[in-house]
C-alpha cells in the first residue's frame, strides 16, 4: 500500500516515486512466487500453493490506492494481495513452511495468510468465502465512521457462488464502502471460464445498482486509476463498486499443475507472457516516460532478489511451532 509521501502528489496524479514503487511491488510478487515454486520443487514446502504470477498489476494497482488502515480480503491465490498490502516476505515464507515465525504461527499456511497489522483479513480457501467478510468490514467502517474502505479480491470462479450476489445486494442497499475486485484470469482450475460463466460479468454486478467498471488487469496504471476513483467514491459514502480486471495466470492452477495442454495451449500462455506482461509493460513505460532507466530497473531487481533470498533463508531456518501450540488459539 502507499505511504504518506507517495500520496502527497495524488492531486496531480501519482509521481515518479509512486510508479517506481509500483514496479518494485509487482516485481516483489513475481520473485516471491518464483521462490515458492522453487520451495515446492525442492520439496521444502508442505502442501500446495497457487501462484499469482501474471496478475501482479491488479494487487499492486489496487493496494496502492489504499491506506494501511483499509481492509482487504483475499483468496487461495493470495500471496500477491498480501505483499501488495504491505506484508513482509520473511514471515510469509515462514507461514508457507508452517513455521512459528509465520504470520499465523504456521497454522494457516499459504491459503490462510492474514496480517492484522496491514488490514489483511485473510486469504481464504473457500472460493467466494471472503465476500461476506469484506462486506462486513465495510459495514464496520461505515458504522464506526472511521473512513476505511474494504477491498474484496476474488477470481472469476467466485462468480459461481451465490454469496457474491447476496453481498452485492446488501452492500448496495446499505451503501457500504467496499470494492469487489474480480480477477478474471480466464480459468477456474482447469476449466475455461466461458464454460462456467453465462452472460455478461459486469452486467451481473450492475444489475444490483453497483457501480461497475472493467479494466485491463495487466496495466498497473489503469488499475490504479480505476481503484483511486472507486476507493475515493466509497470513502465519500457513495457506496460499493465492482471492478472487473482481465488478466491471466501464468502457471498452473497450483504448483505442480504442469501438464496443462489438455485445457490450454502453450501458445496462449506464451502470448500473454510475451505481449501482456504487467511488469515488462510498466518497466517499458517507465523508461519511455523517463522515470527510470534500465540500470535503475536492474538495480531494483537485484535488491528484490536479495530480499527474497534472505526471506526464504530465514523461513527455512526458522523452527516449527512446538506441540503445545496445537491447542492454542482455538478460542480467544
Amino acid at each position: 500500500m502507499s505511504t504518506a509521501s507517495d500520496r502527497s502528489d495524488v492531486g496531480a496524479g501519482p509521481g515518479s516515486d509512486f510508479w517506481v514503487n509500483a514496479y518494485r511491488q509487482m516485481l516483489r510478487i513475481r520473485l516471491f512466487e518464483e521462490q515458492v515454486n522453487e520451495l515446492y520443487t525442492r520439496a521444502l514446502m508442505p502442501g500446495l500453493a497457487h501462484l499469482y504470477s501474471g496478475e501482479e498489476a491488479i494487487a499492486v494497482g489496487i493496494c496502492e490506492a489504499l491506506t494501511n488502515e483499509d481492509y482487504i480480503t483475499s483468496t487461495h491465490r493470495g500471496h500477491g494481495h498480501c505483499l501488495a498490502k504491505g506484508a513482509s516476505p520473511d514471515k510469509m515464507f515462514a507461514e508457507l513452511l508452517g513455521k512459528e515465525a509465520g504470520y499465523c504461527r504456521g497454522k494457516g499456511g499459504s491459503m490462510h495468510i492474514a496480517d492484522f497489522d496491514t488490514g489483511n483479513l485473510g486469504a481464504n480457501a473457500i472460493v467466494g468465502g471472503s465476500i461476506g467478510i469484506a462486506t462486513g468490514a465495510a459495514f464496520s467502517a461505515k458504522h464506526l465512521k472511521n473512513g476505511r474502505v474494504a477491498v474484496c479480491f476474488f477470481g472469476e470462479g467466485a462468480l459461481g457462488q451465490g454469496l457474491l450476489y447476496e453481498e452485492l445486494n446488501i452492500a448496495q442497499l446499505w451503501k457500504l464502502p467496499v470494492i469487489y475486485v474480480c480477477e478474471n484470469n480466464c480459468y477456474n482450475e482447469y476449466t475455461h471460464y466461458s464454460e462456467t460463466t453465462a452472460g455478461d460479468i459486469c452486467a451481473r454486478a450492475a444489475a444490483f445498482g453497483v457501480l461497475t467498471e472493467m479494466v485491463d488487469g495487466q496495466d498497473v496504471r489503469a488499475v490504479n486509476a480505476a481503484a483511486n476513483k472507486l476507493v475515493e467514491r466509497a470513502r465519500a459514502g457513495a457506496g460499493p463498486a465492482f471492478l472487473l480486471c482481465n488478466t491471466y495466470r501464468y502457471t498452473g492452477h497450483h504448483v505442480g499443475d504442469i501438464n496443462r495442454e489438455y485445457y490450454r495451449s502453450k501458445a496462449e500462455e506464451q502470448t500473454w507472457k510475451t505481449t501482456r506482461d504487467p511488469i515488462q509493460m510498466h518497466g517499458a513505460w517507465m523508461i519511455e516516460a523517463g522515470i527510470a532507466d534500465a540500470a535503475a530497473i536492474e538495480a531494483i531487481e537485484a535488491e528484490v532478489r536479495a530480499e527474497m533470498k534472505t526471506a526464504v533463508d530465514f523461513a527455512v531456518a526458522a523452527p516449527y511451532p512446538g506441540p503445545e501450540e496445537v491447542e492454542m488459539h482455538v478460542y480467544a
Binding site: 480480503t73 509465520g102 504461527r105 492474514a114 483479513l121 461476506g132 462486506t135 488459539h329 482455538v330 478460542y331
Partner: protein, 332 residues
C-alpha cells in the same frame, strides 16, 4: 439463581432485555436479521428494540442468511459485536459455510490475530405444526465444530444471563432458543444486572435415584418427569448443562456417579446428536458407578411430520421420560 426474585419475565422478554442492556452498555452491539426491526421478528422477540436503538443498530436484512451472517463475521473482526438473528434454526443450513469454515476457524487460522466476537441467535424445537423444514433442532452440528460455543438456555433467567455473557465473549457463539418457550415460559428474572458464565451446568432439581440431563425445552420435560417419578418414590435429579460447548462434564458425571443412573434428553434428532455426546461423557466418566446403561431420548429419527398426532409422537414428554426412568430404576 438467587431465591425469592419477585419479577417474572417470559423467555422472550428475558432475551430482549439482555439485548437491550448490552446495546446500552456497548454501542458496538448491533442486530442483523430478517424483519428484526419494526416487526420485531415474527416471534415478536425483538419488539421495541428498533424504537430505542434505531435502524442503524437494528437492521432488517434481505432474505440472505449466508449473506448477512458472512457480513457479521467481517463486522465482528473489525470492531463491532453483531448479533445475527436466524429466524428458524432450520435455516442454519444456509449459514454453515460462514459459521463453520469462516467464523469458527479465523482465530485459529490467523494464529490468534483476528477474533470473531459475534452471536448468532436462532431457534429450535418442534410441536409448533410448522412441519419438517421449520421444526428442527440442529444444535448438534454446531457443537461438533471447534471454534464455536453453543448456548442452549432453558429458563428466562438463564437466557438473560447467558445471552449477556455470549455478547461479551470474544468468540462466535450460537444461542438456541426454543420457539415454544418464547411466550409460554415465564420465570423469575431479577431487575439487577447479572451474567452467567458459559460452561457451568445448573442442577434444576436435586435428587438421588436417577439423573435426568435435559437441554432447552427438554429441561421442563425432565422436571415434569421428575414430578411423576416422585409420586412413585423415585427421586430424580435434573441437570441442565446450559451450554453444550464449553461443556460442564464434571457436574454431569458427578450427578450420575451419585445417582448411578442417567437419561439424556434433547430435542435434536435421536442419532449422532447431542444425546450421544452427553451419554458418552457420562458413560465414560461415571463408568464404575453406573447401575445401568445411560439412556438417550432424542427426537425421533425422522423428518418432523406436520400432522399434529404424528408430530406429538416425535419428542420426549414427561410421560415417556417417566416410563423410561421407571424401567431403568427397575420399577414397574
Amino acid at each position: 439463581m438467587p431465591d425469592a426474585i419477585k419479577r417474572e419475565l417470559t423467555f422472550a422478554q428475558a432475551v430482549r432485555e439482555a439485548l437491550a442492556e448490552e446495546m446500552r452498555r456497548d454501542t458496538r452491539v448491533c442486530i442483523l436479521g430478517e424483519d428484526v426491526a419494526e416487526a420485531g421478528t415474527p416471534f415478536k422477540v425483538l419488539s421495541g428494540l428498533v424504537e430505542e436503538f434505531g435502524t442503524e443498530r437494528v437492521l432488517d436484512t434481505p432474505i440472505s442468511e449466508a449473506g448477512f451472517t458472512g457480513l457479521a463475521v467481517g463486522a465482528a473482526m473489525t470492531g463491532l459485536r453483531p448479533v445475527v438473528d436466524i429466524m428458524f434454526g432450520d435455516f442454519l443450513t444456509l449459514t454453515m459455510d460462514q459459521m463453520v469454515n469462516q467464523a469458527a476457524k479465523i482465530h485459529y487460522m490467523s494464529g490468534g490475530k483476528w477474533k470473531v466476537p459475534m452471536v448468532l441467535r436462532t431457534t429450535l424445537g418442534a410441536t409448533r405444526r410448522s412441519a419438517a423444514q421449520h421444526s428442527q433442532s440442529l444444535h448438534a452440528w454446531l457443537c461438533h465444530v471447534p471454534g464455536l460455543k453453543v448456548v442452549i438456555p432453558s429458563t428466562p433467567y438463564d437466557a438473560k444471563g447467558l445471552l449477556k455473557t455470549a455478547i461479551r465473549d470474544e468468540n462466535p457463539v450460537i444461542f438456541f432458543e426454543d420457539k415454544m418457550m418464547h411466550h409460554k415460559l415465564k420465570g423469575p428474572v431479577p431487575a439487577e444486572e447479572y451474567t452467567i458464565p458459559l460452561g457451568v451446568a445448573d442442577i434444576k432439581r436435586v435428587g438421588t435415584d436417577i439423573t435426568l440431563v435435559g437441554t432447552s425445552s427438554m429441561v421442563q420435560v425432565a422436571l415434569g418427569a421428575a414430578d411423576l417419578l416422585a409420586e412413585i418414590g423415585i427421586s430424580a435429579e435434573v441437570v441442565d448443562p446450559r451450554t453444550l460447548w464449553p461443556l460442564d462434564e464434571k457436574t454431569l458425571i458427578e450427578s450420575a456417579k451419585k445417582t448411578s443412573r442417567a437419561i439424556v434428553i434433547d430435542e435434536g434428532y435421536h442419532r449422532y446428536g447431542v444425546t450421544a455426546e452427553l451419554a458418552s461423557v457420562i458413560a465414560e466418566g461415571a463408568f464404575y458407578s453406573l447401575d445401568g446403561p445411560v439412556l438417550r431420548m432424542g427426537a425421533m429419527h425422522i423428518p418432523i411430520p406436520f400432522s399434529p398426532p404424528l408430530e406429538d409422537l416425535t419428542v420426549a414428554t414427561p410421560r415417556t421420560v417417566f416410563e423410561a426412568a421407571r424401567k431403568l430404576c427397575g420399577k414397574r
